[in-house]
């Protein structure tokens, strides 16, 4: 595995890990790891760092919805211009061009159902290239970005084992 891949694997999984600790764990030079991370940040290989939050457990109201968007591609630009336009809205959590029965998959984040429904009907659906939308609200999350949401954190091992 390349140093870059190893570093990214740790950051993608753990997020909050210092360059020094990464260097120790991978047996690399700390200065080199810092340089690589800074370089990847500048190159937008690393887009950002954030906490993975279970909003429901936090008791904070937060609603997510998946919007299947069917759209007409534009000559010369395909779906890129439309996707970039949609992505620019702060309500939009993520946007993917996908294969299958529709074209874009948009994840929306809002404080309540109404806010998301209004965004779809007022902002998303009226866009000229958009042919149709189907909104699915998230009712319960089981796994998020590689982490199980419902987990029993207990270590089931005996404290001393030969």
């Amino acid at each position: 595995m390349t140093a870059q891949r190893s570093i990214l694997s740790i950051l993608a999984e753990e997020g909050c890990c210092t360059a020094d600790e990464i260097a120790t764990r991978l047996g690399l030079d700390p200065a080199e790891v810092r340089r690589l991370i800074e370089q990847m940040e500048r190159d937008h290989v690393i887009l950002g760092y954030h906490a993975l939050v279970d909003w429901e457990r936090a008791g904070e109201s937060k609603v997510f919805a998946f919007i299947e968007v069917k759209a007409n591609p534009e000559r010369g630009a395909g779906f890129d211009a439309l996707a970039a336009h949609i992505a620019a809205f702060p309500e939009v959590h993520s946007v993917h061009l996908i294969s299958g029965t529709h074209d874009l998959n948009v994840v929306l984040e809002g404080d309540d159902f109404r806010e998301i429904a209004l965004f779809v009907s007022e902002k998303l659906a009226p866009l000229p290239q958009v042919v149709g939308t189907a909104t699915s609200f998230v009712l319960k999350t089981y796994k998020l970005d590689g982490q199980l949401v419902v987990r029993d954190g207990a270590d089931h091992r005996l404290p001393v084992v030969p």
Partner: protein, 421 residues
């Protein structure tokens, strides 16, 4: 000649068990007033020393809030695809016995994996037997090959079960101490010094629990020559073969001439995080394996069927997950070693398994004192080196297969403790 070692028996017989006045004596016989009085536990078993690790476990188990470096098993759950396969097997009603040998499919996968990875040649029909972990494999092997009083060379420090398993097979364990100065590596010279006419076999745990030492191909080659020269059987416990971090593992049986005198013991516990499934195997010469099969068929019948199914799945589709886990152990190994170094604790760099075996000799404490005080004063559990034999004195076994956060906290507690001694 051998010098006295803790496990050595008095000549000619098992050690005399304790049968002082306080020991219960039971009357047998039906209705006879003064019938024969005899103890209910055999002298062999009564004479077994308790596992040092068990005593320590009893202390730790009563305490809260302990950070444990004492857990000699992966901190991962068994990869999900393996459990999923077992659900399927159960739904399909695979709940019967298998052949005494174990599922042929599993034996074929094992033989194929050993050939692919090490170039070892085993006939899955006659040279592979599925056991209930390496523990059963070791017990079977010793019971099959030893005559009462046969001596078995057991390099130390070693896994707690080796000497006891030899005793239970009516053999005599002859421990061969190794030292930190020698990298805890056993050499022909060290073995030679303990050799007698009764020496029959050598138990070689490589990579080693508790030291993490890995023997190189050339070091193993020297031991192979020694085994050849003295016509010894070698019980090669390679349960940690996948967990190596420097040189690739050398399978002892693949060294010249060794296939016919080696019993390769291995299993799924460590590489695939499957400790609780209790599934292992032994590969070796057809005559010995057939004889082991005979013992196995009377004592165990077969390894659990679901566990055998799980093992098939592990070998067929488990490589990626296994490599991910090994990489993770290696990261934590480096993290923990760098912490030990910062604290100034000398430690032979472990290149395999998931243990570090630092020296605490400079504290002036014995291993047992050090471990006991650590757990009482700092709520940090590490196993006293002496649990793995007398030559572990002055060391602690630290299993670093815990989360990085737990390792950082363990190192903080260790540091705080070292300031007080």
């Amino acid at each position: 000649m051998t010098t006295p070692v803790p496990w050595a028996l008095p000549p000619g017989n098992a050690r005399e068990p304790s049968r002082g006045d306080g020991d219960p004596v039971y009357t047998v016989g039906r209705g006879h007033a003064a019938s024969v009085r005899r103890p209910r536990i055999s002298s062999l078993v009564a004479g077994l020393p308790p596992s040092g690790i068990r005593e320590f476990f009893d202390i730790v188990a009563t305490m809260d809030d302990v950070i444990s470096l004492g857990v000699g098993e992966p901190d991962f759950a068994t990869p999900w695809h393996i459990c999923d396969e077992v659900y399927f097997a159960l739904r399909s009603g695979e709940t019967s016995y298998t052949s005494n040998w174990g599922l042929l499919e599993l034996r074929q996968e094992i033989a194929a994996a050993l050939e692919r990875d090490y170039g070892a040649q085993y006939d899955p029909q006659r040279q592979v037997i599925i056991t209930v972990g390496v523990s059963e494999g070791l017990d079977l092997a010793l019971r099959t090959v030893l005559e009462p009083g046969d001596e078995v060379l057991v390099p130390e420090p070693c896994f707690v079960a080796y000497p006891a398993a030899v005793l239970l097979a009516h053999g005599k364990p002859v421990t061969v101490p190794t030292t930190a100065a020698g990298g805890f590596k056993v050499t022909p010279d060290l073995l030679e010094a303990r050799l007698t006419e009764r020496t029959r076999a050598l138990i070689l745990g490589n990579p080693n629990n508790p030291t993490g030492t890995v023997l190189s191909r050339s070091e193993l080659g020297a031991l192979a020559e020694f085994a050849e020269r003295h016509d010894l059987l070698v019980l090669a416990d390679e349960i940690y073969d996948r967990l190596v971090y420097a040189e690739p593992h050398t399978c002892f049986a693949t060294l010249p001439g060794m296939a016919e005198r080696t019993l390769l013991l291995n299993g799924f516990s460590k590489a695939y995080a499957m400790t609780g499934w209790r599934i292992g195997y032994v590969c070796g010469p057809p005559d010995i394996i057939a004889a082991m099969m005979c013992v196995h068929s009377y004592t165990m019948m077969c390894a659990p069927t679901v566990s055998q199914r799980a093992a098939v799945e592990a070998l067929r589709h488990g490589r990626k997950e296994m490599e991910r886990m090994v990489d993770s152990y290696n990261q934590r190994r480096r993290l923990f070693l760098s912490g030990l170094q910062r604290l100034g604790l000398p430690c032979v760099e472990p290149q395999g398994a998931f243990y570090a075996f630092p020296s605490i000799a400079h504290t002036g404490l014995s291993s047992a004192e050090c471990a006991t005080r650590l757990v009482h004063e700092q709520r940090l559990a590490a196993v006293p080196g002496t649990a793995f034999g007398a030559s572990g004195e002055g060391h602690l076994r630290c299993a670093y297969c815990s989360s990085p956060e737990a390792l950082h906290e363990a190192l903080r507690r260790l540091e705080a403790f070292l300031r007080t001694v």
